[in-house]
Symmetry: D4
Subunit: 255 residues, 8 copies
């Protein structure tokens, strides 16, 4: 919950500028707003450090627009993932500074560019086909106030490619590694760095890759101890966790 907003409401109520019933409604909306098909969670920013992110798949276009409209009233930065250009069109017609990121199929509204991280986040892919997922991670991390470095196509079958980026990898506060097929790259990167590695299996592959299951299992069984895993193709989740790892601590207001 936005404490400033809450204090202002309470003050206004005390000064009789606000009816009690209206104050109650507004305070409860600081928590979440019930718009029928969704309860927009306005306190998530306070609880989790970033506003609720809209997962676009399986929602109707007007539902996405409706949720975004509510979120942007309370948060400067908003993300919609797993969406399409048509939905972007509808969003931009009411929020003109919304950006469309084709590769990651993601809408981003970014009005606050404050840097919140202590170091850099490096995002790495095993192959060219893993870039969309990795880009979703990178854009999320940027939206959450991080500097991001991208390293594409350094899969383990040409091990010299990832070794060539060793110093770049070793200077980051956290690494995100996206890989499909056998999903071996996080283990190798994990062995090279002393920071957490967030592994993202991608659904790239065919046959016995089973839509990313082979990569997922590879990453869960990584012999490198500093690897944690998110869902298949969940670039957003990887970017989110990495951002929280990189976030300055303690989160004191003067910073």
């Amino acid at each position: 919950m936005d404490l400033n907003a809450l204090e202002q409401l309470l003050a206004a109520h005390k000064r009789d500028e606000l009816e009690t019933s209206e104050a109650a409604r507004r305070i409860s909306e600081l928590h979440y707003e019930d718009i029928g098909y969704a309860r927009v969670d306005h306190s998530r920013s306070a609880r989790q450090g970033f506003p609720e992110v809209v997962f676009g798949a399986g929602k109707r276009r007007e539902q996405v627009v409706g949720i975004v409209e509510r979120l942007i009233r309370h948060s400067p930065n908003v993300l919609v993932t797993h969406t399409d250009a048509g939905t972007y069109g509808d969003v931009r017609s009411i929020i003109t500074d919304a950006e469309w990121h084709e590769t990651a199929r993601l809408i981003r509204i970014q009005r606050d560019n404050t840097e919140l991280g202590v170091g850099e986040i490096v995002v790495v892919t095993a192959g060219t086909s893993d870039i969309p997922v990795a880009e979703e991670a990178a854009l999320t991390a940027e939206a959450m106030g991080n500097r991001v470095k991208r390293v594409w196509d350094v899969g383990v079958a040409g091990i010299h490619r990832v070794l060539a980026e060793r110093s770049l990898l070793q200077s980051a506060r956290v690494a995100i590694v996206a890989a499909g097929m056998e999903g071996a790259l996080p283990s190798v990167v994990g062995g090279l760095v002393s920071v957490p590695v967030i592994a993202v299996p991608t659904s790239i592959g065919y046959g016995a890759s089973f839509g990313g299951v082979a990569a997922l299992l590879g990453m869960l069984n990584s012999c490198a101890s500093n690897v944690a895993v998110v869902n298949i193709d969940n670039g957003f989740g990887a970017g989110f966790v990495a951002s929280l790892i990189n976030r300055r601590w303690p989160n004191t207001s003067e910073e």
Copy 2:
């Protein structure tokens, strides 16, 4: 690689106190030491911030002892996981300050207690049966220089139990949550805190829990965005990743 040790070796060689061939052998051993059945990785501490940890399962007792002997020469703190009291007996006969942790089935040698974290790590379980895995995580985190809080048996079927610990959870720098059965607790904890949650599925359950698979899938599909997952029953890995998240940054020597 231990830079001090390397500089001393080079200096000794320059002063002709060391034969060239002997110097070469010792330098290469700073990286790893080949003892036939294993290549003990002495540079892991430098690369990953903690020495190689011995996974006891599938190794013969004398192999575990042999590896621990080499590791303790280079590192003050050593862990052996997935082991048993008999192996502990053999280890203690040569390393008298080795500790045995029955619940977690883990041997720990801890000679360095420097605190390295910026905050606390909270370790949470859904049930009583998840404690062994959670304890493995907690002991690992302590061995890596962290203050740890333990919160046992706050599963979601009695939601007031976890809500009662809300403030404790919200004060930590990182949370580890171990749960079997449906594995729902990380989602709830994830929704309450603004820091990363490392979820550890446990093999607790029966029938369609499939040895932890139900919990694993639940955690990978968590609707809370700040959850990352490690392998089933991998308390050690969770403690390791959480320790790196909590570690002071940058890792400058004066700190």
Copy 3:
């Protein structure tokens, strides 16, 4: 079997108003009617408390229409699930009071609105995308004579949302909870109420949700003891079971 209809047939036969062979045919049709591609089960209402429901998927349009035609002769309320607007058009051209429910993709004919339940049924979803399945459950329960309350989008990552509806949940005779992804909501609801919870996994999610399998396993392994589960996306089944739970007992005719 409709006992009244049977008695009338027997009486008519006794009074020689009906040939024996015709009487036999009509009596056997009270059980089921063989229309070539289907045996329409007219005794199901007697045996199960509701007429056979038409599962539209995999049936040709004219088959659906043919079955509905036979059912409506014997039962005031008829449901067709997993169908489409085109089939609805064909049904309505012969049964003008048929309703089309777009969200649930369901045709409903409801001529009898007698209330049969002892309490209310509450239908809950974890997210916006679970609404179609939940709506199928709600419409089914209404067709079977129940009062239904709907609570949408109260997933566990924002636990305050479901807690806010605690009293509503606790006043119901039975709860239906639809959730995809990790499927954790039934466990939380189950812990809050003292009535049966019918959990419906939905196929909402991606990657390791495996089309609802993660949610299904989560629900089967629920640590709340009052949870029973139906098939993935089986809103109809959930509504059906919940209706039988809520039904007045004993089912005496004067009630």
Copy 4:
């Protein structure tokens, strides 16, 4: 939470018979009691209509005894499932009226035999080998205040056996059906009765039964609409849900 107990505590506190700190401790314990390895949930009886049930597997013997000791102070009836005769010995040495049920491997303390149901619960098995799971369900239902009828070994390969029990099945308020192998019996029973059927897959079978998975899938895909499913071998859960279905409604205090 036990409201009587709460009122007495508050009254005692008001009369200054109780220190404020002591009153607070006791009130919080009315909710749950933290005994280190477990948080014994004393409010579950109020929330769910039956005290927390102890799942014995994976808990040490002294842990089970400790939890039972706390539960019995607040609840007249206590169950321990998935346990063994040794644990029973320890429990009985402190609670002399504890009963041991060998077939179901279950400890039951039953001091309150009030009947709480509106009708009977019938428990059915497909084969002889399914009896232990079914017995766990039956004992649970009895502990929760129900009259129970048992029908053993009426699997579908001899369909006349189940048809012979038709009237018994049709007179129950709810049916529990335990079956292994192909798990077809709930569908047949479901087609015969107009009440909810709680299906319990058992791990009986071999080869492609996969420890109960075949039966589980069969039950989830039942063509009978009145079937809901619990976890493999979860006799306790089936008995619990069936008890709540059978419970008199509304749950007014005078009843």
Copy 5:
């Protein structure tokens, strides 16, 4: 191999009406004919009692036509399964008596109607949606010289429907039972008859039916001992095996 044809070839070669190389080529073609993309197996009729059947899926239209052309030269009856109306058009333009069976999506050329069975084959479905698979079985059995009875839509949720057909089922020499969802019907039919039951799981269902896997597992674990199973949706295979079971024995030439 066609023994008559072989003897004629040998005689012709002896009479010098045929070059040795040409004789060799023709004899080898009696076994199979290599047409580049396929080796048409002309000896299968002799070895297996029916010519090779063309599996249409995954073959190009001209390949199907080419194979059918070769087969019809040696066998009076030819089947093409898993095909479409377009392919049928091409086949009929060269073989004018080819029939198209829309429900089963199967082309049949039937020039020999000799009855070869000792009794009847009954083909049964659980539901309306299983008819296409069952029809493939029935058409195959007819093409192989059997009398076939069809019993549609007698699934176990209305057990009286299958019981009503008991005498018909019990008069058959072999039963084929097609069912999706939980696949329980073969167990019930198996319990009613004293002949082999060939069970065909169909991919009808949704959610945890997993495209027919639930039905397949149900059938493999049938508690009726007279059930054997073929692949999901393999109506053709069921019809083929049933035909061989029904075939007169011994297969003496005068018959």
Copy 6:
């Protein structure tokens, strides 16, 4: 049901040699006998051509003995599968002509050796380790009145071994083929013969054989059309189905 026994009972009742209530009890026992833990199905012989077979696994020793005692009163031949030598000892102490078959772990009582088949059944194994399952099939077929030929260890990696037995295979009325690992032998045998092949996957193998799943899938996907499959390690079922296939038809009493 045994018609002779039924007629005698009815006659005795008519002659007043039997009380009506006693007559009713005995008639119902002709169908099945309820002995508490089991309903012994005495009509199975009439319905399925062989008495109920006792599946020993998961039954207590005294339960097996009790069931066998009842069965042998009505049927000359009785089988107990999946049992052990200890149970055999108990059975033999009351039924002295019971035989123990160590390889197949099966008890057989065989008092009637009438030959009921039209031809021979050939039982084939791919390897030496598959013999126990195959022997269960062979003993079952013999108990059901068939002549059986055994062909062991002719797996496809030495294709000349199975080809050497071609004429023996081709003279049988039905073939049973047991194979583990890749389960390929039924396809090869299926291609050589013109009779049904009952394939039994065995759990022989390791690693990706998954306890017989690889063999099971291989057999279900056989490219030979005359293959039907029973459960993993289900030698009994294979023998049962093969016996029914081989049985003389029609089953007239004079034969």
Copy 7:
């Protein structure tokens, strides 16, 4: 890395014909070339004996063209697999001697036809539908300098077809066997030859073939010891491994 090219660059740099910075850039590109979305691996030919092969699926058309452009500068032969005719059009507009292979859906540029193998590679399919995968293997092997024999449609259900090709199979240095459905052919071929067999499961089949999983498991469990397996539908990988097996050793230039 191309040693000639490296020496020329070093010489040119020494003769001051090349700036140091330019020389460094060109040398590093001999290893790989970073073109943004891909790091084209120019040293793979040296390390693995064949240039990097472009996996077309999941790459945009312009990305494929860009990578091919870079590869062809360093290697005479280039392959693009899993691509389409449209991409071929774009490739041919800049590389006029590119060939399109419709069956295998593969682009091949082959400027060097040197024969590098010691013997022949035989490529075998079980059925007509497996030809596309087999053709990908054959084309790959030819591109890598091998003589290839093709044997199509010799599946095990007609074992005489593969036996007829025995001598051809036995004369090869290595065999590639592609099969779907039960995947039994590699075991049979493996038993006939004394050379390695590379088995390629194909996704041909339906129902319980699970998109090639049945064939994959069959091949992994082959009872023939000379069988190794590649991914489902991975004709390219099979051709690649077979080529390396067939390659002359040692790889000296004078041979």
Copy 8:
């Protein structure tokens, strides 16, 4: 088949030193010898280049001894895999030069040490726990006439360990790589060498390693094109295939 032995038999028969029936029996035994429970395949050496290997698991001790006795009469080198020390005792009591290899649990009789390979085989493990499987591969390769190099414990989490062995790896004619957990090492080795890599997944790991499935999938999806895979823990198969790859070609007798 042993051609010398065949010629001698034929000659002896011609010289009337041998009855025709005896000659026939002995010739057929040159192919295989039927000893009841097994058909010992004596022609395998001719067909596959090495005699049949005895898979010990699932065979009784006396069966293993019986088979070994027959094999050693025809072949100088014999292997028994998956066996135990007790069986070894029995084998050595009749074959005194049999060796016991504890790590690999393998009996080896090696009377012929002719070197048959063109180069060396390198056997590599990811960890210490993978050594038993790798040792089985190495011993097999040695038994088949190869020089073998062993490289233990060079898993990818310490990538410098495998890079340190680069030149050794690159000098081999074929590499065998055994790895459990994520199974990533074959991809890295595959990228370093230009020869075939035979990957052996091991069952080392826990949780989501699923007994080697994670490693198996990782290897099947390897992004290195020169990797082929054998079954989980199949060290023998890997050694066998690698031996055939390394074998001199053509296999002329003078070599």
